[in-house]
Amino acid sequence: MRLAPPMSIRSRREAPLAAVVILAALVLVAIFADLLAPHDPTLPVPGANVFDPPFWMEGGSTAAPLGTDFQARDILSRLIYGTRVSLIVGLMGTLVAGAIGTLMGILSGYIGGWVDQVIMRVTDAWLALPAIVFAIFLAAMIGPSMWNIIVILGAVYWTRYARVIRGEVLTLREREFVKLAEIAGASKLRIIKRHILPNVANTAMVLASLTVGVVIIAEASLSFLGVGVPPPQPAWGLMLSEARPTLLAGQWWLTVFPGVCILLIVLATQLFGDWLRVKLDPQQRNL
C-alpha cells in the first residue's frame, strides 16, 4: 500500500482572480475619476433632460451613455465619481471601525480586569443601540457629510472587532512568547506593540475585508433614511436610495446601475475576504 503524497490543500489557492480584477478596476476608476468621467457629476448635462434613458434605448443619447437622473445629471459620471465616494466610505469606515475596535479589543483583552469589564459592557450597550440613532446624533453634532458618515459607521461597527480581537488577545496573552517577553522584562506597551498587535493583524485584516461590504450597504441604508452621504455627492448608496421611487415608474436604469456597482464591490470584497480568511486563518474560526 502506498499513500499519496501530502495532499495539496485547496485553501492555499490563489487569490480569487475575479475579485482582484474588480477591486483593482474600481480603485483605478476612483483614482482617475476626473479623467474618466465625461461630465461634472453634480451638474446637469447641458441639453439633456431629466430621466433620459441609456443610449441604446429610444430617446437616449451618447451624451449621457447610461442616461440621466432627476437633475439631468449624467449617471455614468456619477457612477464613476461615486466609486471614489463609496470606496472612501467603505474603506475609511472600515478603517475607523477597525482602529477603534482593535484598540478596544487589545486593551480589553490584554489589560483585563475592570478595563475589560467596562469595555465589554460598553460593547454590549453599543450593540443594543440602533445605528440610526448614532447617525442622527452625529449629523446633528457636526453636520452631515461623507466624513461624518465614516465616523458613524466606524462608531457602529467597531464592536465586532472589539469582541473578536479581545478573544484573540485573551489566547495570545497566554501564549508563551508573550510570557517570555514579560519574563524578559518587556513593558506592557512594548508587548502590545511588538507581540500582540502584529499577531492580531491577520484577524483584523480578515474582519476588515469582510466589513467593507457591510459598511457600503450600511451607507446606502443611512441614505435611505435621509442621513447618509449628503447630496449632491454621488455615493452609490445615495444614488440608489434617491432613485428608488423610479423603480415603480419603469426607469430601471436609475437603480440598477448603482445597485450593480454595490453588488460588484460587496461581492468582490467578500470574495477577497473569504479568500483572505482561508489563507490567514486556516482553522476558519468564526470571524
Binding site: 512568547f177 510570557k179 517570555l180 514579560e182 519574563i183 524578559a184 522584562g185 511588538r194 502584529p198 493583524a201
Partner: protein, 321 residues
C-alpha cells in the same frame, strides 16, 4: 558548587477556585504548598512529578509571573519577591526560561534575530550592530548557523525552534534558565540533540538549570539533583544517582515502577500505585499521598510527614523513615 544561586523557602501559592458572584472564592487550589529547595551555580535541579502537582506554578513564582502567597525566593542571597525598578530588571536579565512548546514560544510575526534580540533591547543599550553580533554569537552557541537570523519561526522545525528559544535565553548573561519540559514536545530523534546541547552549554557557560519534566529517565539523565513533587509539596529530594539507585518515598518508587522499560526483558507487571492524583483543591489530610500509597499506615492519614535526611544524602518526607 557551594554558592547557591537560587534558594526557595516555604514557597506557597494558592489560587482562588471558582469565584462566586462577587469574586468570593469558593475554595483554594493549593498549587504550591510549602516548597524549599536550592540551586547551585552551574548545577541542574530536576523537578519531577505528575501533572498538576505544581511544577509549572513553582517556575512561575520564580519567574515572578505570579506573586507567591507565602515564602521567599532568594536570588544570589537577595529576596526578590518585592523587587522593583533596576533591581527587578537585573533579575529579569539573569533568569530566563524555555518553555515546552517550541511552536508557541516564538512569536510567528517576528524574525528570529528580533526574537533573540528582544532581551538585549530591553536590558542593554547596545548598538544595532553589537546586538546583531551577539545574536550571531548565541546562535552559534546553540548550533545554528548565523545566517538563519533573518528567518521567521515557521521556517524552522521543532528542534530548531527550541534551539532558538535557548539562544534567546542565553542572549543576556544569564545565570539561571528555567526549563519547563523543554523536550517533551520534540521528536524522539531530536530530543537527544537538545539534551546534549543543554549539557554542553552548561559545561561551557556554567549556567544553572531548573529542569522540569515528568519523564524520569530524561530528568535523571540531565540533572545533578532531583526533587520529587507531589500535590504541591516536595516529598523527596536527593542527588540524581542516589535517587535512582534507591528511591525511598513510596511515591518516588511508584514513579520508578511506572517508568517504561528500556528493553522488552525489563517488562514488569501491574504497578503498585493505584488511582489518580487528587485535585489540588481538597488535598488529603496527613500525608497527601496516603490514599494511593501501597504502604499506608494509620498515622499517614493524620500526621503530615516532614522532610528528614535520608540515606545517601537528600531528604524524604515519609513516616516509614
Amino acid at each position: 558548587m557551594a554558592d547557591r544561586i537560587l534558594e526557595v523557602r516555604g514557597l506557597k501559592k494558592r489560587f482562588p477556585a471558582r469565584a462566586g458572584l462577587f469574586g468570593r472564592p469558593r475554595g483554594w487550589v493549593k498549587a504550591v504548598d510549602g516548597v524549599d529547595f536550592a540551586i547551585h551555580a552551574g548545577e541542574t535541579l530536576g523537578l519531577i512529578g505528575e501533572s498538576g502537582c505544581g511544577k509549572t506554578t513553582t517556575s512561575k513564582l520564580i519567574l515572578l509571573q505570579e506573586p507567591p502567597t507565602e515564602g521567599s525566593i532568594m536570588f544570589q542571597g537577595r529576596d526578590i519577591t518585592g523587587l522593583a525598578g533596576a533591581a527587578l530588571m537585573a533579575y529579569r536579565r539573569a533568569v530566563q526560561v524555555v518553555f515546552q512548546d517550541p511552536f508557541s514560544s516564538l512569536s510567528p510575526r517576528m524574525r528570529v534575530e528580533d526574537i533573540i534580540a528582544e532581551p538585549l533591547e530591553i536590558h542593554t543599550d547596545l548598538e544595532r550592530a553589537a546586538i546583531r553580533q551577539r545574536v550571531a554569537a548565541v546562535l552559534e552557541l546553540v548550533g545554528l548557523p548565523s545566517d538563519v537570523a533573518p528567518l521567521f519561526p515557521h521556517e524552522f522545525s521543532g528542534g530548531q525552534r527550541q534551539r532558538v528559544a535557548i539562544a534567546r535565553a542565553l542572549a543576556t548573561d544569564t545565570k539561571l534558565i528555567v526549563l519547563d519540559e523543554p523536550v517533551s514536545a520534540l521528536d524522539v530523534s531530536v530530543r537527544a540533540q537538545i539534551i546534549n546541547q543543554l549539557e554542553h552549554l552548561q559545561r561551557t557557560l556554567g549556567v544553572s538549570y531548573l529542569f522540569i519534566g515528568h519523564d524520569l529517565a530524561t530528568v535523571a539523565h540531565i540533572s545533578h539533583r532531583i526533587a520529587v513533587m507531589y500535590l504541591g509539596k516536595i516529598v523527596e529530594h536527593a542527588d540524581s544517582d542516589a535517587l535512582c539507585a534507591r528511591p525511598m518515598h513510596p511515591y518516588t518508587k511508584a514513579l520508578f515502577e511506572a517508568a517504561l522499560p528500556s528493553h522488552p526483558d525489563d517488562r514488569h507487571a501491574a504497578t503498585a500505585v493505584a488511582g489518580e492524583v487528587p485535585s489540588a483543591m481538597n488535598v488529603p489530610s496527613g500525608c497527601r499521598f496516603h490514599p494511593r500509597c501501597p504502604a499506608t499506615m494509620p498515622i499517614c492519614s493524620q500526621v503530615e510527614p516532614v522532610l528528614q535526611p535520608r540515606d545517601g544524602g537528600g531528604e524524604v518526607a515519609c513516616h516509614l523513615y
